[in-house]
C-alpha cells in the first residue's frame, strides 16, 4: 500500500469543467470519505483516481495523480494496469448476469488471462472471505450471479474487485441502494478491509462518513460557472467536531445539501 497524491487535478465533461485544481493526499491503509451535496463532483474525483473518468465520451482530465512513485496519468501508463491496482465498487450492484457467482468473482482475473482453475478458486475464496460473503454464498457458487439480493450482490461485487488483487478500493456510494441491514454489513466489511486495502468512499450520508472513515474530504460546487473545489480535508473527528471552514460547518450541521 502506498499514499496517493492528487496534484492540481482538473476534470471536464465536454466544455464543462467540473473539478478545479484538486489537491489532496489519500493516506495508505486508511479509510477516506468524500462528502458533499449532489452534483459536487465527488464521484468524478473518485473516477479520476483509477482513470475511469476518461471512459465517458468527451471527458478529459489534466493534472497529476501519483500513486507511490507511479504517475497514473504518465504517457506510457496503460489505464487497465491502473485499474488492477486501484479497484472500484459502484453505487448499484452490478454482477455480470451471464455468469455464476464464482465466475463473477474471478471475472477480472479470467478476462486478464489467468485460467488456472485451482488458483482461481483459491483467489475467489480469499476475496469472498474478505468481502464477507463466503459463508453465505459458498454453497451457491454455481448459481447465476444476477439473482442475489441487493446486499449480497454488492458484497459479491466487492469480492470481484478484490480478487484482482488491488491495494486500493474506490467505493462510489456503495450502500446507497441498499437496506439498513445490508448497509451495516457493507460498513463492517469496510472496517475489516482496511487492514489490507486503502479505501476511498464517496457517500452522501454524513453519519456513514463519521462512522467508518478516518479522514474526510468535503467538496462543493458553489455555482454552475465554477468547477467544484475541495473545501476542507482533515481527520474525520476534526471535520465533524471543529471544521475550519464555515461552509463545511454549514453542510455538516445540515443547513444545506
Amino acid at each position: 500500500m502506498s499514499d496517493l497524491q492528487v496534484i492540481g487535478l482538473n476534470a471536464w465533461f465536454g466544455a464543462d469543467r467540473v473539478l478545479g485544481d484538486i489537491n489532496m493526499k489519500v493516506e495508505a491503509g486508511r479509510v477516506t470519505a468524500i462528502i458533499g451535496p449532489s452534483g459536487c463532483g465527488k464521484s468524478t474525483l473518485l473516477r479520476c483516481l483509477n482513470r475511469m473518468h476518461e471512459e465517458v465520451p468527451n471527458a478529459r482530465v489534466t493534472g497529476k495523480v501519483v500513486y507511490g512513485d507511479w504517475d497514473l496519468y504518465g504517457p506510457d501508463v496503460d489505464p487497465t494496469d491502473v485499474r488492477c491496482h486501484i479497484g472500484m465498487v459502484f453505487q448499484r450492484p452490478n454482477p455480470f448476469p451471464t455468469m455464476t457467482v464464482l465466475e463473477n468473482v474471478v471475472a477480472g482475473l479470467r478476462l486478464r488471462g489467468h485460467y488456472d482453475r485451482a488458483s482461481l478458486h483459491d483467489n475467489a475464496e480469499r476475496a469472498m472471505r474478505l468481502a464477507g460473503v463466503w459463508d453465505e454464498l459458498k454453497d451457491r457458487l454455481n448459481r447465476p450471479g444476477g439473482r442475489l439480493s441487493g446486499g449480497q450482490a454488492q458484497r459479491l461485487c466487492i469480492a470481484r474487485a478484490l480478487a484482482v488483487g488491488p491495494d486500493m478500493l474506490l467505493m462510489d456510494e456503495p450502500a446507497s441502494a441498499l437496506d439498513p441491514i445490508s448497509t451495516q454489513q457493507i460498513e463492517d466489511t469496510i472496517q475489516e478491509l482496511k487492514e489490507t486495502v486503502t479505501i476511498v468512499i464517496v457517500t452522501h450520508n454524513m453519519q456513514q462518513a463519521a462512522r467508518i472513515s478516518d479522514r474526510t474530504a468535503f467538496m462543493l460546487r458553489e455555482s454552475h460557472d465554477r468547477p467544484s473545489a475541495l473545501i476542507e480535508y482533515d481527520e474525520t473527528r476534526v471535520m465533524f467536531t471543529a471544521p475550519t471552514d464555515k461552509r463545511t460547518e454549514a453542510y455538516i450541521t445540515g443547513r444545506f445539501g
Binding site: 483509477n50 475511469m52 471512459e55 465520451p57 487497465t80 494496469d81 491502473v82 485499474r83 488492477c84 479497484g87 472500484m88 459502484f90 448499484r92 452490478n94 455480470f96 448476469p97 451471464t98 471475472a107 477480472g108 478476462l111 486478464r112 447465476p144 444476477g146 439473482r147 461485487c157 470481484r160 474487485a161 484482482v164
Partner: protein
C-alpha cells in the same frame, strides 16, 4: 366511479377488437394455405424434383435444397458482417463514420428488395456471366445485413452501462469487455435478430429471381443457377396446370413452417435467456 368503470370497459373492449382484427388475417392465411396446400404435401414433395408440365406428382426438393444453400450462404456472410457492424456502432463508433454507417444501414433497410436484386445482377451476375446461388446469397446479404445490424445494435444498447463499467474497472481491456461481457449479455437478442433476418431471406423472391434464376433440377454448385422455394411458388402459381398450382401451395406451407420454426426458436431462446438473467 361508474363512469370510470364504463370507460375502462369500453377501452378494454376496443383493445380486444383491435387485437382480434390483427389476428384474423393471420388465421385466414394459415387456414387457406393449409386447405390448398396439404394435398401437395407427401413424401414425394420433399424428395422429388419438378415434374414436367401436366404430369401429376413431383416435388420441390430442388427448391428446398436451393433455398437452404442460398440462405445458408447469405447467413454465413451477413451474420458476422452485421454483428460486427452493430458492435462497432454501439461500442466504438463515434463521429461522422458511425453516423454514415448507420445512415447506410437505414437506407438499405428500406430499399425495395428488387433493387437489391437488380444491383447484384449488374454487379455479380453480369461480371461472372452466370446466374448463381452465390449471386443470390449476395443479394440476400444486402437485405439481411441491415436487419441484423440495426436489431443487434438495439440489443447491445440495452446492455446496462453498469456492466461495461464494472468490467473496465476490473482492468479489462475494452475489446475484451465487449467480447466477453456485452455480447454474451445481449446473446438472445442477437440470435433473435439473426432469426428475423433468416426468415426474411427465406421469403424473398425478387432478388433471387434476378440473381439465381431458378433450376428444375437439384443443384449444389454455388456458381450455377439454383432454385428456391419462393421462386418456385411464383412460377407455379401463375401456371395453367392444377398440379403445379397445388405444388405452389405446398411450397407456401413449407415457407410458413420454416418461418414458424424460426420464430418459435427465437422466442424459446430469448425466454431462456430472460429466465437466466432473472
Amino acid at each position: 366511479m361508474t363512469a370510470r368503470k364504463a370507460a375502462s370497459t369500453l377501452f378494454m373492449g376496443a383493445l380486444w377488437v383491435a387485437g382480434l382484427v390483427a389476428v384474423i388475417p393471420l388465421v385466414l392465411i394459415v387456414y387457406y394455405v393449409l386447405l390448398k396446400g396439404l394435398p401437395a404435401v407427401h413424401v414425394g414433395f420433399f424428395t422429388q424434383t419438378a415434374p414436367p408440365p401436366g404430369v401429376p406428382g413431383g416435388g420441390m426438393s430442388q427448391a428446398m435444397w436451393g433455398t437452404g444453400l442460398i440462405v445458408g450462404m447469405a447467413t454465413l456472410i451477413s451474420v458476422p458482417l452485421g454483428v460486427l457492424t452493430a458492435v462497432y456502432l454501439s461500442e466504438f463508433g463515434r463521429g461522422r463514420l458511425a453516423v454514415g454507417v448507420r445512415f447506410v444501414a437505414e437506407i438499405l433497410l428500406s430499399t425495395p428488395s428488387i433493387v437489391a436484386g437488380a444491383f447484384i445482377w449488374a454487379l455479380v451476375v453480369v461480371a461472372m456471366h452466370s446466374f448463381s446461388a452465390l449471386a443470390g446469397a449476395i443479394a440476400l446479404t444486402v437485405l439481411m445485413w441491415p436487419i441484423i445490424t440495426r436489431a443487434t445494435e438495439e440489443t447491445l444498447r440495452l446492455v446496462p452501462d453498469e456492466l461495461r463499467e464494472a468490467a473496465l474497472a476490473l482492468g479489462v481491456p475494452r475489446w475484451k469487455m465487449v467480447l466477453r461481457i456485452v455480447i454474451p449479455t445481449a446473446g438472445s437478442g442477437i440470435l433473435t435478430a439473426v432469426m428475423l433476418a433468416v426468415a426474411r431471406g427465406f421469403g424473398e423472391t425478387a432478388p433471387i429471381l434476378l440473381t439465381s434464376l431458378g433450376n428444375d433440377f437439384l443443384n449444389t454448385n454455388p456458381l450455377q443457377p439454383t432454385d428456391a422455394v419462393p421462386l418456385r411458388i411464383y412460377n407455379y402459381a401463375q401456371s395453367a396446370f392444377p398440379a403445379w398450382q397445388t405444388l405452389a401451395w405446398g411450397g407456401a406451407i413449407t415457407l410458413l413452417g420454416a418461418v414458424l420454426v424460426l420464430s418459435i426458436g427465437a422466442r424459446l431462446l430469448s425466454d431462456r435467456q430472460q429466465r437466466r438473467l432473472g
